[in-house]
Amino acid sequence: MSGEFMRDEMIEARRPPDARRGIWRWFHRNLFNGPINSVVTVVTIGLLAWGLWPFVQWALIQADWIGDSRQACSGEGACWVFISARFESIIYGFYPEAARWRVDIVFALMAGLLAWLAIPRVPGKRWAAVIAVIGFPIAAYVLLLGGHFGLMYVPTREWGGLMLTLTVATIGIVGSLPIGIVLALGRRSNLPFVRAVSVVFIEFWRGVPLITVLFMASVMLPLFVPTQVEFDKLLRALVGIMLFWSAYMAEVVRGGLQAIPSGQDEAGKALGLGYWQRMGLIVLPQALKLVIPGIVNTFIALFKDTSLVLIIGLFDLLAIIRAGLTDSDWLGFATEGYVFAALVFWVFCFSMSRYSQYIERRLQTGHTS
């Protein structure tokens, strides 16, 4: 080889070698790229089919779907009639039938607002946010509780089912995130008092089980406050859940705050921005984006743990289904009940998970500093 070289012409950029695309190529590359992998693939599919087939048979093929009493069920497969017969109570709990339209309106409002906020193409996000933060809670409060504008008063002990689950989860999620952010900032504050309060708060709420919190809220609190002051049981549970989860949220957010280089804050300072401006405009947008997986993880855990309110006598989705199991007309359908409850929880949690992944991709500016 000669030791000298000089290029006369630059090489033009070319397209990558053509290749088959699409699903078959994916199968070929990932599942059948060689004799051993092909065998493993076939065996795995066989095992899955063998393992899942009885469940599919039970849940879908031999199941009974139509009817209004247990006589409609053959007993060979699942008896979904149990669910459909009790569907109203699963959704509304003991909410008076005459007033259930109010719950429907709240559901519809919430779905509409969520779509407005969550779908990027829909304009007017600022208005949606204002309505979601101020208008919707007031409307939901007035509609659900009643007692004003000629609406029948429905005490919270009559709330239940999916409606109660969603109420607890929504208020828990919407409340715990901002409190958690404030706590996370507090824990990193330069002010010793603020820092101490945040640390004590976080460590206290993280150190006790949620069940203990709920018990304390429902059983012990009334012992300490004068009897004429009566807090609503649901309200007490809500406050407990919110504070409990805000402590977890605070640590998730703090993880994000720590990942932001100090140069970001310094650049903000050098530009004359104040503390809240630097946090709100520079540090938090980056930190929260980083910890979306952790935040959504906490949301999902919170959503599922709402079912713990059953131990203080609130009938959420799971508790209502359990109550249905003891109905003497419907003994012996526990499996259907639990599978259905699991499915409902799964649909909500999986939706949150997928949406968070979508948001992560959307916020990706491709590069970090």
């Binding site: 300072k269 004359g272 980056q286």
Partner: protein, 255 residues
């Protein structure tokens, strides 16, 4: 760049530091610093790493706090009061070694952020100012990109424009070319030289001795937290007085 600033404050110096001392724990980083910077003066600070030169200029906009001594910026004495500090920072621009652009905002938004939030300018006016300065650092065509899509030299020019948008009376440069690839150092230095020619008061911590020779009114050499020598560039480079300075110059110029 407007030179009208001098009229409003008469002949008060831009920056006045007297008896400045600072410690990190027991470590004495800045020792008895006295430094006065006149309006329009361009100063280059050099010295070995760990000599306290970055710490010194970071004290001027209170990114670092000092324990003893006085700093007066543009006639305003530095205190611990947050409002006072923010008032001083509005007049002091700073450019960092690692650019510190906000990666979640576009180039244009980076330049508009403090205009809209600190100076409370309307959006359109802020964008107009931003585009003016982006034009001047010759990067206006990238205004809608994100910082991560730009080269180091381009990012640093955006950072300079972002600072200038606040129309500061003094600019601090903290090793602005140290994190750049050699090919990109010149484009940043050119912008800084241009700025110096327009009369901006500048304090630059840098190892670019060519830049010091071209624009500096005074070169300051620091070692172990103290000012060892200060002189106009011709004197500084041709007849350094202290042995420490001679050694430093032979090391950075001798290869």
């Amino acid at each position: 760049m407007s030179q009208a600033t001098a009229t409003s404050h008469g002949d008060t110096p831009m920056i006045e530091m007297t008896g400045l001392n600072k410690w990190y724990g027991d470590f004495h980083v800045l020792r008895d610093i006295d430094l006065t910077v006149a309006r329009g003066e361009r100063i280059v600070i050099c010295g070995p790493s760990g000599s306290g030169k970055s710490t010194l200029i970071r004290c001027i906009n209170h990114l670092e706090s000092h324990q003893q001594g006085e700093i007066v910026v543009n006639g305003v004495p530095m205190t611990q009061d947050v409002k006072r500090i923010e008032q001083i920072r509005r007049n002091v621009g700073m450019v960092f070694q690692h650019f510190n652009l906000f990666p979640h905002l576009s180039v244009l938004e980076n330049c508009c952020l403090s205009q809209t939030w600190v100076q409370k300018k309307p959006r359109a006016e802020a964008e107009k100012t931003a585009m003016e300065y982006l034009e001047r650092v010759q990067i206006a065509d990238q205004a809608h990109k994100y910082p991560g899509q730009l080269s180091g030299g381009q990012q640093q020019r955006v950072a300079i424009a972002r600072s200038l948008c606040m129309r500061p009376e003094v600019m601090l440069f903290d090793e602005p070319t140290s994190a750049l690839d050699p090919e990109m150092i010149k484009e940043v230095l050119d912008v800084m030289i241009e700025l110096a020619r327009e009369g901006m008061t500048m304090l630059c911590v840098t190892h670019e001795m060519g830049f010091a020779k071209t624009v500096a009114d005074r070169v300051i050499f620091m070692d172990q937290g103290q000012i060892i020598e200060e002189a106009p560039p011709e004197t500084f480079f041709n007849q350094p007085r202290s042995e420490r300075t001679k050694l430093f110059l032979s090391q950075i110029l001798g290869h």
